[in-house]
């Protein structure tokens, strides 16, 4: 039942996104295919984390960590790169669009999407989950398990949205975004080392499994963080390249004007 629900909701989200893209394309607007591909990838990650075989074995701690990486790190990164908010703003109109803009400009969202709050929301949740008895409690309660997964995904999205800055939440400079990424990464690295050193979380099975989980978290997290840094720097590279080309064109024009004036002194 949960499998069907998961597949249906990720499928619906993907179809809704692609419908939006189709609407823009039919209107003659451009929308990069790479973004659509990112949405499909994000939906695939969420689905992979929540349907068998992964979900059947998530009482094993390393499997739980793999689930965590897919749901809380990779899927949010891909989703943030696919710019769904921008797509909705461009594909819809009227009252719906105005309502969305009110939410986007609201003080609460601005506060949530500030770098320190985003990092603290994610890191706080993870520290509470793995360093306290919360992890053991999620194994007993299905509802709590669901809430933890939801928090993992949403907090991951918050950090990915702030760092990648594709959608029009309050946009930050490259330096702020890189520092945010570094802080989030440092918090995760410290967490996985604490887990390894103190054999946490309680309820994570035998010691070898807990250590393996901590290692997967450490290395997997590093890979995702480096990938996000590459995305941020690639954006910067493209942006500065554009302004360099613009500058070069302007100096070319002024040089040509000067040459023209020097070449024809008698005119004017």
């Amino acid at each position: 039942m949960r499998t069907i629900l998961t597949l249906a909701s990720t499928g619906c989200a993907t179809v809704a996104y692609l419908t939006g893209v189709a609407r823009l394309r039919l209107r003659g607007d451009r929308w990069p295919w790479g973004r659509a591909l990112c949405t499909v990838g994000a939906a695939a990650c969420v689905a992979a984390a929540l349907v068998p075989p992964v979900v059947d074995h998530d009482e094993l701690f390393p499997v739980h960590i793999a689930q965590h990486l897919l749901l809380g790190m990779v899927a949010p990164m891909l989703l943030a790169m696919s710019a769904p908010v921008t797509l909705v703003l461009r594909a819809t109109g009227g009252r719906f669009r105005r309502g969305l803009l009110v939410i986007l400009h609201s003080r609460v969202l601005g506060w949530l999407a500030s770098p320190p709050v985003a990092v603290a929301t994610q890191a706080g949740g993870l520290y509470a989950l793995y360093l306290t008895g919360l992890y053991a409690a999620t194994e007993r309660s299905e509802g709590l398990h669901l809430v933890v997964h939801l928090h993992m995904f949403l907090a991951g999205c918050l950090v990915a949205w702030v760092v990648l800055g594709v959608d029009p939440l309050p946009r930050r400079g490259v330096a702020v975004r890189l520092v945010t990424l570094a802080l989030a990464g440092a918090a995760h690295d410290t967490l996985s080392k604490l887990m390894y050193a103190h054999d946490l979380p309680a309820g994570g099975g035998p010691v070898e499994e807990r250590r393996l989980g901590a290692e997967i978290l450490y290395y997997g997290d590093t890979v995702v963080m480096v990938a996000m840094a590459v995305v941020v720097m690639a954006q910067w590279w493209r942006l500065t390249g554009r302004s360099l080309a613009h500058q070069a064109r302007r100096t070319d024009v002024s040089a040509a004007l000067r040459a023209g004036r020097a070449g024809r002194p008698g005119r004017g």
């Binding site: 890189l178 480096v226 840094a229 590459v230 720097m233 690639a234 910067w236 590279w237 500065t240 390249g241 360099l244 080309a245 070069a248």
Partner: protein, 99 residues
């Protein structure tokens, strides 16, 4: 990773001074190795180069290499900076951009 992007950007602007780049690379490498050898190996005793042997030849070689890297890096950086300042009339001119 961020450094590689910055390096590529300096190259595309035509502002890269290779001698400064090598100098900074060696200086950074040497400074980290010296810190690792002194603070982590000796003061904190976190990890060692080898175990169950007499350590001092290894430590000495480690720290001397680090010091040489630092000195070489600083030298390259200083001479590179001076050379680029002298030649700044040509160095400051950005390379033409292909459209």
């Amino acid at each position: 990773m961020v450094g590689l992007f910055l390096l590529a950007d300096a190259m595309r602007r035509g502002e890269l001074v290779p001698r400064c780049w090598w100098g900074a690379l060696l200086l950074g490498t040497g400074a980290f190795q010296l810190y690792d050898g002194v603070v982590q190996h000796k003061l904190l005793r976190l990890h060692q180069i080898r175990y169950h042997v007499s350590l001092w030849p290894y430590d000495l070689a480690w720290d001397v290499v680090a010091a040489v890297l630092v000195a070489l890096g600083a030298l390259l950086l200083a001479t590179g900076a001076r050379a680029s300042k002298r030649g700044s009339v040509t160095a400051a001119r950005p390379r033409e951009h292909a459209e």
